[in-house]
C-alpha cells in the first residue's frame, strides 16, 4: 500500500500522529493533497476575455473560425447534411470500435487522395477518433506500446501546446528540432535540417502538414522535399498532424501535398486528421488516425491493436459528427459546397492578413509586417513581445505570446 508522505499530510490535518492504518476517518478528505491545477494556457485567454468589460475588447486567442461579424460560422453544407441525416431516421446503435466505416474511408481518401496506391492496396488503417486530440492520443499510446525501438518524439519548436503533455502522458519522451526563426518570423530551414540530420535512427518526428500551429509558417514544397530526404536518411518515423486541410490555402489537395509527397517517397507515416476547423465541427469531435503499413496483412494486425487501445478509453466513438462529415464527403453536391466554403473561410483569413498589414502601413508603421502575409492558416506569430499582450486600461487585445 502506498504510504502518504507524512510531512505533506501533517500540514493539512494539523495535529495527528501518523501510524500504519490509523488515518482519520471522514474528518478529512481523500483529496486534501490534490493541488489546484493551473488554468489551460490557451483557454485561459478566453476566460480573461469573457471577464473583460471593455466594449472594444477582441479575442484573438481563440482557435476557432469567426465570420466577418465575429460570430461562429456553421457551414451551409453542414446544415444541409444534418437535415439529410435527420430525414433518414437512423438508429443509435453503437458504432464499431474503429468508427463509422463510411467516415474512415472518406477521411483517408481526403488526406491521401482517392487514387492513392496505399488505399488501393489496402495497406493502411484509419480509425475514427475524438477529433485531433483523440487521434494524437491514440497515436501516442500506439507508439508507446509498439514502437519500442524509439521512445523520442521530436516536435518542431514551437508546436501546439497540447502536443507535449499528450505524448508525455502516453509514455514518450519529448525532444525538439529548430523550426521557427524569430529573426525573420519565418521558417528556420537550415536549423531544421541541421537538427533533423542529427536525430538518432528510429526517432519519431512530428510534422505539421500545413498551417503550422502556432506560427503559421510552412515549408515550401522544395523544402519539404529536402526534409523528406533527410528524414528518410535518418530512418525516422514520420507523424503528420493535419488539423487544417483546406483551411490553409483554400485547396484541400494543395494542403495535403506534403503528406502525399512523403508517402510517395516511401515513408509509412502516421497521420492525425481533424475536422474541427475545416468543417466547423469543433464540438462534435470528428477526427481520424491513420497508419500506413507495409501491406494489407500488417494493416489488419495494426487495426486489431488500435481497437484494443481504444476500447478502455471510450469503447467506441460518437456518431453525430462523423455522420455529418461522411455525408458531406460522399455526396457530390455537398462535397462541392464544402470545398467552396472552406475556400471562402481560407480567403477571408488571407484577406484579413492583407488588410491588417495595409492598415498598419496606413498607421505609419516602420516595422516589416510581411510575415503576417507570408504565414498561413488561422494563426499568426506577430512578433509582438509578451508585454504587448494582456489587459490594459486602453482596451484588451488578447494574444498568445
Amino acid at each position: 500500500m502506498a504510504l502518504l508522505k507524512t510531512t505533506k499530510f501533517l500540514s493539512s490535518v494539523g495535529s495527528f500522529t501518523p501510524s500504519l492504518g490509523a488515518l482519520p476517518i471522514r474528518a478529512s478528505s481523500w483529496w486534501s493533497e490534490v493541488q489546484m491545477g493551473p488554468p489551460d494556457p490557451i483557454l485561459g485567454v478566453t476566460e480573461a476575455f469573457k471577464r473583460d468589460t471593455n466594449p472594444q475588447k477582441m479575442n484573438l486567442g481563440v482557435g476557432a473560425y469567426r465570420d466577418d461579424n465575429g460570430k461562429p460560422y456553421v457551414l451551409t453544407c453542414v446544415r444541409k447534411a444534418e437535415a439529410l441525416i435527420a430525414s433518414k431516421m437512423l438508429d443509435k446503435e453503437y458504432l464499431p470500435i474503429g468508427g463509422l466505416g463510411d467516415f474512415t474511408k472518406a477521411c483517408a481518401e481526403l488526406a491521401l487522395g482517392p487514387d492513392s496506391e496505399v488505399l488501393k492496396s489496402k495497406r493502411s488503417i484509419t480509425v475514427q477518433t475524438i477529433s485531433g486530440t483523440g487521434s494524437l492520443r491514440i497515436g501516442g499510446n500506439y507508439l508507446s506500446r509498439f514502437h519500442l525501438v524509439g521512445k523520442d518524439v521530436y516536435l518542431p519548436k514551437p508546436s501546439w501546446g497540447n502536443h507535449t503533455p499528450i505524448f508525455r502522458d502516453a509514455g514518450m519522451q519529448l525532444k525538439a528540432y529548430r523550426y521557427y526563426d524569430p529573426a525573420t518570423c519565418g521558417f528556420d530551414f537550415a536549423g531544421a535540417l541541421d537538427d533533423i540530420s542529427k536525430i538518432p535512427e528510429n526517432g519519431v518526428i512530428m510534422l505539421h502538414a500545413c498551417a503550422h500551429n502556432p506560427t503559421g509558417v510552412d515549408p515550401k514544397p522544395e523544402q519539404w522535399k529536402e526534409l523528406s530526404a533527410v528524414i528518410k536518411k535518418r530512418k525516422l518515423l514520420v507523424f503528420f498532424d493535419m488539423a487544417y486541410q483546406g483551411f490553409a490555402s483554400g485547396d484541400i489537395d494543395r494542403d495535403a501535398w506534403a503528406v502525399r509527397h512523403f508517402i510517395d517517397q516511401g515513408h509509412n507515416i502516421l497521420l492525425s486528421q481533424s475536422f474541427a476547423k475545416n468543417m466547423g465541427l469543433y464540438g462534435e469531435r470528428v477526427g481520424g488516425f491513420t497508419i500506413v503499413c507495409a501491406d494489407a496483412d500488417e494493416a489488419k494486425r495494426v487495426e486489431s491493436q488500435l481497437k484494443i487501445l481504444i476500447r478502455p478509453i471510450y469503447s467506441n466513438p460518437p456518431m453525430n459528427g462523423a455522420r455529418i462529415a461522411s455525408t458531406i464527403l460522399t455526396s457530390p453536391d455537398l462535397h462541392s459546397i464544402w470545398l467552396k466554403e472552406v475556400k471562402d473561410m481560407a480567403d477571408r483569413i488571407i484577406k484579413m492578413r492583407e488588410m491588417l498589414v495595409a492598415n498598419l502601413k496606413k498607421e505609419g508603421t516602420t516595422h516589416n509586417w510581411q510575415h503576417v502575409i507570408d504565414q498561413i492558416g488561422m494563426f499568426c506569430f506577430t512578433g509582438l513581445k509578451p508585454e504587448a499582450g494582456g489587459t490594459s486600461d486602453k482596451g484588451v487585445l488578447c494574444l498568445h505570446d
Binding site: I25, V34, Q35, G283, A294, P312, S315, N316, P318, G321
Partner: protein
C-alpha cells in the same frame, strides 16, 4: 522491413465478435442474445420517442452551433445528470460539493475517474493501490483500470454459481480483508453480467465495512431507470452512500436509458467533502481530459440536457424508460414460466429474481457452444443473455432450445 513487423494480431473483443458471427449466420431461426442494447418486440433498435422529439428541436434550432464545449463538458448536462443520480434534493448538491465531468459514455467516465485516482487518490502514485472488481464483472473494467496504470486489480467475490445468487458472505469477507484505501468498483444497479443486485439491507452491510476500512466507492451506473423502471429506486445505493458521508465517484452512462448508445453520453459525478476539495479535483480532471480528448462531443449531451431540464420532456423520458424496463420484466416472467412448464431441469427462479438487461442463465461453456452451433442462439460464453433479445416471436424457440441443451449437454 516494417517497424510494425512484430505487431501481433489481437483477439477481437468477444461481445462484438459475437454480433459479427450472428450477422453471418444463415439460419432463419437465429437469435442474438449477446450485445447489451435494447430491442423492441420486433427485435429492432428503439430510438426513444422523446429523443426523436428533441433531435428535431436541435436540428431546427439554427441559433445552435457546433462550437467547442468547455473541457469538462456542457454545464447544464453535467448538473442535471448528477441530479438524476443523487436526487434533485440531495443535500450534497445543495452543499455545493457535487461536481461532474461530461465524458464519452460510461467507459469514458470510468477512464477519467481511474486516471485521476491513479494520480491523486492516496498519495501521488497509486499504481500499487488495489482495485477490486466483482467476480464476474463487465469485461472492460479490468482494461480501463490497468490502462490507467493500476497494477493490482483483484476480484471480489460476488456471484455464487451454485445457488445462482449473490455470494454475500464472500463479498463481505473480501471487503473486510481488503487493504485499507483499496478502490472498489460497485455496480449501482442491474449488475452486469449477472443481473444480481444486493438488497438494501445488504448494501448497508457493504457500506458499513467500506466506511470502517476506508475503502473507496467507485460506482458504475449504466442502467439507472432500466433496472426497476424507477429512477430513484435504481439510485438507492448511491444515495445511501452519499448520505452516509462517503466521498465517491459515480460513472453514469446514458447509453441504455436514453438509447443514445452511439452518441457517447456519460457523466462522472464527483462527491467531495466540500466545495474547495471538489474544485481541486475537477481542476486536475480537466488536465486529464485535455490530453485524452480535449473536450467532449456536444450532440448527445445537449439532447439529454434539454430533456432533463424540461418538465414535460423529463416526464416523457421517464415513461419511455419504463416502457423498456417493463418489456424486459415481461420477457423474464415469460421465459421462466415456459421453462417451468417444459419441466426444464434445474431451478429458474433467478430469471425473475435478477434485474436489468442481463441474466446469468447458469449455462456452462459446453452448453453455450451447443446453443450457438446447433440452435443458432448467440450468447456470451459466460452464459449471459440479453433479455432484450427475447421477443414474443422467439421466446418459445429459446425456451425449447434451453430445455434441449440442458437435457442433452451436461
Amino acid at each position: 522491413m516494417s517497424i510494425f513487423g512484430e505487431v501481433p494480431l489481437a483477439a477481437p473483443v468477444a461481445v462484438f465478435k459475437l454480433t459479427a458471427d450472428f450477422r453471418e449466420d444463415q439460419s432463419p431461426n437465429k437469435v442474438n442474445l449477446g450485445v447489451g442494447a435494447y430491442r423492441t418486440d420486433e427485435c429492432q433498435p428503439w430510438v426513444l420517442p422523446v429523443v426523436k422529439k428533441v433531435e428535431k428541436i436541435i436540428v431546427e434550432d439554427h441559433s445552435l452551433n457546433h462550437e467547442y464545449l468547455p473541457i469538462l463538458g456542457l454545464p447544464e448536462f453535467r448538473s442535471s445528470a448528477s441530479k438524476i443520480a443523487l436526487g434533485a434534493d440531495s443535500p450534497a448538491i445543495s452543499e455545493n460539493r457535487v461536481g461532474a465531468v461530461q465524458c464519452l459514455g460510461g467507459t469514458g467516465a470510468l477512464k477519467i475517474g481511474a486516471e485521476f485516482l491513479r494520480r491523486w487518490y492516496n498519495g501521488i502514485d497509486n499504481t500499487k493501490t488495489p482495485v477490486y472488481v466483482s467476480a464476474p464483472t463487465w469485461e472492460n473494467h479490468n482494461a480501463v483500470f490497468s490502462n490507467a496504470g493500476f497494477e493490482d486489480i483483484r476480484p471480489y467475490k460476488y456471484w455464487d454459481g451454485e445457488k445462482r445468487g449473490l455470494d454475500l458472505a464472500g463479498l463481505l469477507d473480501d471487503l473486510e480483508s481488503a487493504p485499507e484505501h483499496s478502490i472498489f468498483v460497485l455496480h449501482a444497479c442491474a449488475h452486469n453480467p449477472t443481473g444480481t443486485d444486493p438488497t438494501q439491507d445488504q448494501w448497508k452491510q457493504i457500506a458499513d465495512i467500506m466506511k470502517r476500512k476506508n475503502l473507496f466507492a467507485f460506482f458504475d451506473s449504466a442502467y439507472q431507470g432500466f433496472a426497476s423502471g424507477n429512477l430513484d429506486q435504481d439510485a438507492w445505493a448511491i444515495r445511501y452512500f452519499v448520505s452516509h458521508g462517503f466521498e465517491l465517484f459515480c460513472a453514469q452512462s446514458f447509453s441504455k436509458n436514453f438509447g443514445l448508445y452511439n452518441e457517447r453520453v456519460g457523466n462522472l459525478t464527483v462527491v467531495a467533502k466540500d466545495q474547495d476539495k471538489l474544485n481541486h479535483v475537477l481542476s486536475q480532471m480537466e488536465k486529464i481530459v485535455r490530453i485524452t480528448w480535449s473536450n467532449p462531443p456536444s450532440q448527445g449531451a445537449r439532447l439529454v440536457a434539454i430533456t432533463l431540464n424540461s418538465p414535460e420532456l423529463f416526464a416523457e423520458w421517464k415513461d419511455n424508460v419504463k416502457t423498456m424496463a417493463d418489456r424486459v420484466l415481461l420477457m423474464r416472467a415469460q421465459l421462466k414460466e415456459k421453462l417451468k412448464s417444459l419441466g426444464t431441469p434445474g431451478t429458474w427462479e433467478h430469471i425473475t429474481e435478477q434485474i436489468g438487461m442481463f441474466s446469468f442463465t447458469g449455462l456452462n461453456p459446453k452448453q453455450v457452444e451447443y446453443m450457438i452451433k446447433e440452435k443458432h442462439i448467440f450468447l456470451m460464453a459466460s452464459g449471459r443473455i440479453n433479455m432484450c433479445g427475447l421477443t414474443s416471436k422467439n421466446i418459445d424457440y429459446v425456451a425449447e432450445s434451453i430445455h434441449e441443451t440442458v437435457t442433452r449437454i451436461q
